[in-house]
Amino acid sequence: MTDLLYWLQGAVPETPAPKVEMPPWGETKVVGKPVPRVDAYERVSGSAVYPLDFALPDMLHAAILRSPHAHAVVKSIDTSAAEKMPGVRAVITGKTPGTDIPWYRSRGKSYSKLFDDRVRHEGDEVAAVAAETRAQAYDALKAIRVTYEELPFVLDPQKALEAGAPAIHEGTNRYGDPSKYERGDVAAGFAAADAVVEGTYSTACEIHAPMEVHGSVVKWDGNRLTVWDTTQGVFVVQQQVAAALKLPLANVRVIGHYMGGGFGSKLEAGKYTVIAALLAKMTARPVKLFLSREEVFLNAGNRPANTMKVKIGAKKDGTLTAIEFLSMGSGGAYPNGADTSFLAADLYTCPNVKTLDENVAINAGRARAMRAPGFPQGAWALEQAMDELAKKLGMDPVELRLKNVPKVSQRRGNQPYTSTGLAECLRDGAKEFGWAEAKKKAKGDGAVKRGVGVASGLWGYGGGPPATVVVKLFADGSVNLNSGAADIGTGTKTIMAQVVAEELGVPLDRIQIEHADTGTTQYTGPSGGSKTVPSDMPAVRAAAVEVREKLLKAAAEEMKLPVDDLALSNGEVVSKQDPSKKLLVTAVPGLQRQQVLVGVGTRGPNVEGKVISMFAAHFAEVEVNTKTGEVTVTRLLAAQDSARVMNRLTFECQVQGGLVMGLGLGRTEERVLDRNTGKMCNVNWHDYKIPTALDVPAEQKVHSVDLVDTECNTAGAKGVGEPATIPTAAAIANAVHDAVGIRVHDSPVTPPRLVALLAGRGKKG
């Protein structure tokens, strides 16, 4: 799991443990409080400059020509007409010197090039243009004449494995051997079971669809390149761009101050950045290249579709005896993760487990990590199967889950978790939701039936090194915080400021933040995997504590008191023994002499021999119209274990957003590919249906079980972004089953699918 975000980079970097002492926080003054965002004004007033807003004098606009075919060979490209179009300053193709750049690397092999002469999905890059205006660039694309030789294509992973299937890459269509995991004896486990359930479940492919489309503005100064990118991690982009252009890291500066959402799709450098850099070099002008919304649908990642076969066995009392989970997914036309089995092997205590994940190439847009990659899909299958099992055993589904709460991570060598909030999430969640009462309530005798469902989940990645943070205390008592972390809209900056305020007793408005700039801030991993709080906040804390120690040491000399007796409060150094003895921070001679005190904090290694995971249980109530298949989700409740809540407001925002995204998977979202051409049908906002305000239940509650975890890291906080979306869709499907007795195996639960099942026209569970 630790390599989850580093699969592109290879080795996991490390930073040394900080030297300062950081005992667990007791009662906190600022951390944990519902502090409004430090950049709220900028964000809502429009003064925050997002990369998409960014403009430089003399800047050109670029656009990319993409394959209209699902699979083809580019026979020839004639750019002569395009080059003569008004405003056009440069046209590049795979023939242009300097464009022979390998792309989509995995397992030491690259699967394509910046512009490959073989296009493997609709939207693959073929050529690009830079022009004076965006419209001129797009007009010029139309004047490029490409001759394609169309090839047979395949969209279904199962079919891609059949003999005679179109070969998408050399050799097999498999991305590596299927990954297998086994513990115990599954056959014996099923033989010992009193009840066994078995079923096949599938999830549709989802698109990240962030508000801000993907893209960059780039500018050269000699052989130094500056990139303003909408990204979750400036250092990842720096590394990949530097490698592509064969530049030293030091020559590539990536800035990513604000960004309009990524959900995992902006954890890597896009081809667009490198294409923009090449065009900028050719024209000696800054270049702006942002994708259109359609291009984002086609070519900026997705949550792959998965088909999962689940079999679970249990004793009469609910004790699980065996789980088998076989998953098939597709990274798309180029390799990316598509595994879903982790939950099946780790969420519940079960001695006998066998999982298998297949990942197969198809001629469709490549997947990218999407909010808890693999986990909502896994939960969709596992948690519906658990619901079936509860029914078969005549047990309450909450009780069945409580019966099997794990104490150790079985999937990771039986190491204990630093904290396990699954039982609390289930129990407290059920109480807050009114589960018992809701279960007893009548389903309704009209056409509309009511039902409730529960599902749980865990997210197996607790953050870790590397992260380096610098905190500077200036002579006037104001503070500058310097961290490479991107704030992807989750409130990272606000929480960082809270940590500094907690340790230095400085008001939030006296803290300024420099962040997400490879030129001026320190290395950290990208913001993804729910790891930003658990990875970066300990480093922020360490830096602030170092500054405090320096300050108190200097004050102790002046005040002639032992350092241990001193504390910081409201801009003053105060004696704990005798609070009348105090000194203004700004009056500490050591600070005045140096004009600045600097603390450098690092993120030390995680605790040995234990694993860090976040847990969640989601509860849903739905109303199903049995005549029309319409579903209304009337209530959702998320009970989350993320240990310490760093900020109630941002925490709630994350969970509310997670629920809405889960609702999208469960109810509305589905990429549709045309079976006869391989092209995407719903490549726009109205046909690709993300939930609207009217689809979100009026009652959507967030509950944190607030466990104390002193081992996960020195902030005592586990992440929340991902676990908040893992079980939602499954909980909704379980509620639908409770309402009408129909198991919807395939996401999303739409009126077409459900009304067909209700009328006995579809596959029934």
Partner: protein
């Protein structure tokens, strides 16, 4: 990207008709559909002729016979919140309210709603399909979840409008101005089946514009509604729906007009249902029979036979809710 075009804003209907008679001219009312089509390169425009300066196309007023005149530029939002429409012609008010989203209803007009182009994703997408003058109809062998179960041939769009079916049920008439003068066409006769011409959706000739919609007076003992089933709560077209205009007498249906939406290339009137209802009380049995009649003769495609139970359910629910 938008094509480049000339933009004209005539002051009179005559000027508008003249401008629209030029080849490649497109009428622009609220623009919510037109601009999307141009941007997505569904079709081209040499000139965009704004109707927004035409006072004759604005406003809602009573007619002499207690009916209503709706200027073609009346927005869907105005219709949805108009108290008299809600009372006398509820199916129309509900149809307008069920369309699109609040923003789009504030901007989109009734005329534009009736003349909007189909939403078939092949038509809107990068496919040279039959309706765009190419070949073939991609939906036949392709992804036809949202396509027609009635009235298709050569092309299987469903008409996207949520106001068209109510207007047909309410026996509304469209007034049309054109190069040859003005004419009136019942809304029921405004739309074109693909078997007649699969490249256009209305009978409007080049240069013609809808100037107003006339609603006859409310029926004695009138009841009506529009029910729409969709995949998400807003910003979504009908998977299936039904507009009802009934007149009741002594607790029984005296006359009925029943028009389905989301199932055919035109608002789909179902006379069989109207026959079932005539003279009957609105009870569960009647509703079930009517629902059955509503889908008689349906010809589902490979991916849309769910529309049969869905439409049945919608008709049954709609009728029972008026009982």
């Amino acid at each position: 990207m938008l094509p480049s075009f000339r933009y004209v804003r005539p002051r009179t209907v005559a000027e508008a008709v003249k401008a629209l008679s030029e080849p490649g001219a497109r009428a622009h009312a609220g623009g919510t559909d037109l601009v999307g089509c141009l941007r997505d390169e569904v079709f081209d425009a040499k000139a965009v002729v704004s109707l927004s300066g035409l006072a004759e196309l604005k406003g809602i007023s009573a007619t002499k016979d207690r009916g209503l005149r709706l200027g073609a530029l009346t927005t869907l939002a105005e219709i949805a919140r108009h108290a008299e429409i809600a009372k006398g012609w509820p199916a129309l008010a509900q149809g307008a309210a069920a369309a699109a989203s609040p923003q789009l209803r504030n901007q989109g007009t009734l005329g534009g709603n009736l003349c909007q182009r189909p939403r078939c994703w092949y038509f809107r997408g990068d496919f040279a399909c039959a309706r765009k003058g190419g070949e073939p109809c991609y939906a036949v062998e392709g992804e036809n979840t949202y396509h027609a179960i009635f009235g298709g041939s050569g092309c299987y769009i469903v008409h996207p409008s949520d106001t068209a079916s109510p207007l047909v049920a309410l026996q509304a008439t469209a007034r049309i101005a054109g190069p040859k003068g003005t004419r009136s066409v019942p809304v029921e006769k405004l739309f074109v089946l693909p078997a007649v011409d699969h490249t256009r959706e209305t009978v409007l000739e080049p240069g013609e514009v809808i100037t107003e919609i006339l609603l006859p007076p409310p029926l004695a003992g009138g009841k009506g509604l529009y029910k729409k089933v969709r995949a998400r709560g807003a910003w979504d077209f009908a998977l299936g729906g039904v507009a009802l205009a009934l007149s009741m007498k002594d607790g029984k249906v005296w006359s009925a007009r029943v028009v389905l939406s989301g199932v055919a290339p035109i608002p789909w009137r179902v006379p069989e249902v109207e026959k079932v209802l005539a003279g009957r009380a609105l009870d569960a049995k009647t509703a079930a029979e009517a629902a059955e009649a509503a889908v008689k003769g349906a010809e589902p495609m490979s991916g849309n036979d769910y529309k049969i139970p869905l439409v049945k359910g919608a008709v049954e629910e709609a009728l029972l809710s008026l009982a």
